[in-house]
Symmetry: D2
Subunit: 330 residues, 4 copies
């Protein structure tokens, strides 16, 4: 079927490509024309403005917006809303905060427009493996777009079926779900990313212990010369901790076990933060997910003011002068 | 090759079975004779005492002890040590604390006996899928036992090769590693379990947020009727959080999304605790792994004394009477 | 000087009383007239409506609103705004979210009204000891109200002076500060409460360890028959952990060392949650403050869904049947 | 009464001084003679060897060992045990691990010697304010030493009495307790220090949020120019978070609000770590105390290996190149 796509960053461009490979008709727009031209060579129809994009699409139109969450997405949706007609649908495939989805869907509904939010996981691997899609919006509209979602999703692949599942609705088994009304897609994706932070930090801490046990700062009698690349590799087979993140860990360690290319300042995105906000709002204890986020915050600071305050208190009550405190406090 | 196995619990019995299927010769002993007889019908040679077991094995002997970590294992190894001869090897496949391995290996070395510690992951799935093995001990002795380890491990299977790995030592790719000297196997297994706790808790917290968002205690306007079984299922495909633990989660939720069979009191084992102790000893910050352990501790208490103390302080400074405090404090 | 007070709950009534004792002129209004009459007997002028209250006050008026944070406060301020005249000031002494203060101050400024937010700490002790006040708003307006703040605050008392403080502005030493523009007062109070949660939880966990070491579930050889009331008491003298919260702990334990009046379900308020939200927004790692909040969330649940999920995973990979799981899962 | 003191570091010397001021007779030994001579000028009797110290004391002797916990203390007690006679008592006033106390007390009992462990809090302030003492050992022996403990402890001072306390045993109100048998004193002191870490970290995190809110990296509209020294000061009066640690914080900030003398690398001692080990051993959830310890570990590392691993995973699944990663990973 036909889809307009706005935003040809890595994610948007690959979504266009995967749809083209699935024989869908794709009309693409991007602020920089270069990326439009690249997609044209792969079979997309390129346009130079969103007005042109809207003009190329048959009613009811479907337009997938794939821009950075926040202002860029908000402005684009507002502009599109001025061009589209009742019955058309705007799909936000980015990482929008789910409460913004709910508000936006309400505003668009007032103009007869539909809004579908799609949490999209898959990263650089999605083009080949397919994207895991978590979709929010009106059931009828989501159903109308099913051919697109079915193409973007991974499909059954060779992943073993989960015993005990009924076959009634096999969309989850093909890699996409209709999670609920507007906002539900991004809500599920948000929690997905929160979990991801926790999983990553669990591996990070475990490998930190292993690394530290192999450290030359330990007396030789207490040290184990552990091969971290081999450890990651062996856990991929038969162990309880096998996962895709472990596969990536094994890959990174196989290439450079010292990870010397990485400085250790770790970014975080809105979804990790919103997960904690949601947990706080819902009174759900999430010590692991929060600790994982805080570890990222901490990774980006050399020393916190709080750390210096700890030293100051220690000096105050015990006269302790911290080793690297730059001289005896007066 | 030939192996004696002591302890035919689920793990020991399945290890015997997998070796028998691999055409090894297995002599088995268990305190209760019933389990010995069961293995005999599958091709093992059963014996009624450890003396008999030692008598059946050709020198240099190899005996795999598969008993609960702690006293049972310690006593059995001490008894075996009195029966074996120089050059023989005792394999501890249980969940022994790695410092006990180091001490024990030293004691046995004084008698000319070898000691190999094998951290074994695989649970009830190991018989079919193979066991992930993390092995500590003398390299020569570990090498001598290689046919056994190769049979027990999963092998390459259909798991994609990690790009960038050299083919020099492919044991990790076949599911087992020689991690280092005595203790190193159980050290790596210990950290493996620590990570496992963290991973599990990350999923648990994420699903708690989802569950809470679907709760009828929320106003309908704030609620999403999320299908948790579908969410677990869809994340198995194309998403960053896919893992074996997620497969198991999907399976549990497919059967009973309310998890009503489970009360929520979660056990923990030595390895999760030792991981934290090791991190503390090595001064490694492990907020996620520790939080995961504490969540299990907490799950087994109805209310902590500390919680009551919080209420008492709140009453003290603010006159707050906690809702369920059983009446106005005097 | 003259002040109108709206809301005669425990905090509002005691603020009125402390001002009356300081020879200020206080006009009070409360939805239920009974509390108004009580204050009248102590020297306040009571009124039956906010219109009457506004009518009694000389310009420029000052009205202190002391209502539960949220809708009640918002509605009252909106109503007052319709009655007051340019130059008048509304003081919000409740626990309002600081971003609401900023928005509200802007709205009121458009009508020529001033807004002052006062974070007020002191609980049931404030009437006698004085209230610690954290004040946000325009410096000139805060200055105009100084006689009120000076009376409400504890004053120098017999607390030793902090060495090294300059005497330029001694308000902090008398127990109140002008923290900054509108919102700054409640921001500081919010963080104050976040810290309070962390402090309380630190004591709670420490006493939990002590209690557990004295538990009859331990073998007698490992047990210490600790007297928790004596421990709290002794730490009040000469120890690094002495604090007002410890005084309250000692008091609670002196009365009932088993804390049997308290069920252990601990409430939390907006400020503890907003502290975490603020930290997340500002990318500040706050593992202790967040853990303290989560412990309260957890205290109000018997078992989490996440805990049950942990058990389900354990059953899935290891066949572990959790002790209280209500029978063997199928 | 008469006491021998071994070890004249800051703590040992001040304990000697406080006893001298209380008219006790003190015989002192220190490895470096200079400190012995200093104490002689203040009225102590100095000796040049532990043999001489033992020779100066009347039976039953009491010797207070005040050395760094661990090997130094262990060796000194072993040496003393060879010189003392049945009925004599060795007091360990250092920070010994409580399980070492229990073992040591048992060994000494075999030789008819008594062992008393004293957890001592007070830091550089103890000389003037008195020391908070947590004492383990045989009740009769502890009773015999009561004059010493009564002098060292702060006494009632001007701290308000805790309502509801019975007057039967007023030692806790005078600043020392007999906590239980050998080891109980150091156990209580250990938990005391664990709590101290939690309290300190709670303040540190709170001030970090305040500092960050005042940071010039924020847009001016979101910033509050908070005066952190004033905030610490005001909280000392009437607020729930007042404490001795807050007094010290106010003092540090009054002198240098930027805390520029402190680098932010924070040491930790055995007791903070043992508290976590004890909690893990006793299955007590201590998220706050553990987080506080981990924050100190983290403060001493620039970046963790785990942080780099997080970046490596992010690169692996999303092609994310972390800002400070030192160039594009290949």
């Amino acid at each position: 079927m036909q889809l307009g796509i706005i935003g040809l960053g890595r994610m948007g461009a690959n979504i266009a490509r995967r749809l083209l490979r699935g024989q869908h008709e794709v009309v693409v727009y991007n602020r920089s024309a270069e990326k439009v031209r690249a997609l044209e060579t792969e079979g997309a129809e390129g346009v130079a403005s969103i007005e042109a994009l809207v003009g190329k699409l048959a009613r009811p139109r479907a337009v997938w917006v794939m821009l950075p969450a926040g202002d860029a997405t908000g402005r684009m949706i507002a502009a599109l809303a001025g061009l589209l007609e009742p019955g058309d649908v705007i799909i936000d495939g980015g990482n929008t905060f789910y409460k913004d989805d709910i508000r936006r869907a309400g505003e668009l509904a007032g103009r007869g427009l539909h809004y579908v939010d799609v949490g999209t996981s898959g990263g650089v691997w999605g083009l080949e493996r397919g994207y895991c899609l978590m979709i929010g919006g009106d059931a009828g509209v989501v159903g109308r777009l099913d051919p697109l979602f079915g193409t973007l999703a991974p499909g059954h692949g060779d992943i073993p079926r989960t015993p005990g599942r009924s076959a009634a609705d096999d969309r989850a088994e093909r890699g996409y779900i209709h999670a609920g009304p507007a906002g539900a897609g991004h809500f599920v994706k948000m929690v997905h990313n929160g979990i991801e932070y926790g999983l990553m930090q669990a591996y990070a801490e475990g490998f930190d212990i292993l690394k530290s046990k192999a450290s030359e700062s330990l007396p030789e009698a207490e040290r184990f010369e552990l091969d971290l690349a081999d450890i990651a590799e062996v856990w991929r087979r038969g162990s309880v901790v096998s996962s895709w993140l472990l596969d990536l860990t094994a890959q990174a360690l196989a290439g450079d076990v010292g990870l010397s290319r990485f400085a250790g300042e770790v970014a975080d995105s809105g979804e990790g933060r919103w997960t904690i906000d949601a947990a706080v709002e819902q009174a759900v204890p999430v010590p692991v997910l929060a600790s994982a986020l805080f570890a990222r915050f901490r990774s980006r600071q050399e020393h916190t003011y709080g750390d210096r305050l700890l030293s100051a208190m220690r000096y105050g009550f015990g006269g302790h002068v911290e080793a690297h405190g730059g001289g005896e406090p007066a």
